[in-house]
Amino acid sequence: MKAVVNIQLKEGVLDPQGKAVHHALSSLHFDEVKDVRVGKQIILQLDDEDEQKASNRVKEMCEELLANTVIENYEIEIVK
């Protein structure tokens, strides 16, 4: 089983990297881009069988280490 964790800065927290990427895209004339947010993806290989249990454990991992919940949100996707 695999868990895919997507971590992003919370709404309302300015994203300096996203802004820099947006600026670069604008200078390449991709004018349709209205906003850019840069996040990170962490892929975990798990030897859990139980999807619910795995999801709970990964949530703990996010709270303790993977995300800084002061400024970041996370989403967990379990892939069989």
Partner: protein, 225 residues
């Protein structure tokens, strides 16, 4: 005065920090991250600058799980004095001993240069040798120094006089190098025994190095025993 300077894999300011405090007459011991206890009779713990654990995941995110950090957290929570400089400040945020979090600098560059700082509050052991409004010239060197916290938490910092230094120009007018909320460079906890700042006072203890403005800051902690 006995000072413990914690050393993690990737820390690179421990010798400068030791040098600065020894120059001011303190006894300094470097404490490896695998130690579980602080030396007996420690009067001050310093978490120095650097790139602990390569700053992987987030700055200081992994250092907080080092064996020595449990002792540092207990020490701080029982009223012991702790100073976190740069990466050390980031550790204090990651362990939630201080409020807020660091983001990448607003211009996404690593900034390494002298910068001026203005004293906002001096009713604490760290800045008590200085006056409100004093302007200091201290090096900064960081890629993730863009301090952030929400409006409610920010108001609490103001209400409790927890904002100690702001970035400014040579005339003391706010000037923000990294995007930090309200140009904040240094804060402390409500009880005023835990201090965190991005600038490096330990690199400003000799005119040969460009400034000795760091001495007055560090001196305050030494006289507080």
């Amino acid at each position: 005065m006995k000072i413990a300077v914690a050393v993690f894999p990737g820390t690179n300011c421990e010798i400068d920090t030791k040098y600065a405090f020894e120059k001011l007459g303190a006894e300094v011991e470097l404490v490896f991250h695998k130690e579980e206890k602080l030396p007996n009779g420690t009067d001050l713990v310093v978490l120095p600058g650097g790139f602990s654990y390569g700053d992987y995941l987030r700055s200081a995110a992994i250092a907080k799980f080092s064996p020595i950090m449990n002792s540092v957290i207990d020490y701080a929570k029982s009223g012991g004095k702790v100073l976190g400089i740069c990466n050390g400040f980031q550790m204090l945020l990651e362990t939630r001993l201080l409020p807020g979090a660091m983001k990448r600098n607003a211009n996404v560059h690593f900034i390494s240069k002298f910068h001026h700082l203005r004293v906002i509050n001096n009713e604490n052991d760290f800045l008590k040798k200085l006056s409100i409004g004093d302007v200091l010239n201290i090096p900064i060197a960081h890629g993730e120094g863009n301090y952030f916290l929400d409006k409610i938490a920010l108001q609490e910092l103001y209400d409790n006089n927890q904002i100690l230094l702001k970035y400014c120009d040579e005339n003391g007018i706010d000037k923000n190098p990294n995007g930090s909320v309200d140009s904040i460079a240094c804060i402390c906890n409500k009880e005023k025994n835990i201090f965190g700042l991005m600038p490096h006072p330990e690199r400003a203890v000799d005119t040969l190095l460009g400034s000795e403005d760091g001495i007055k800051m560090l001196q305050g902690l030494l006289d507080s025993k």
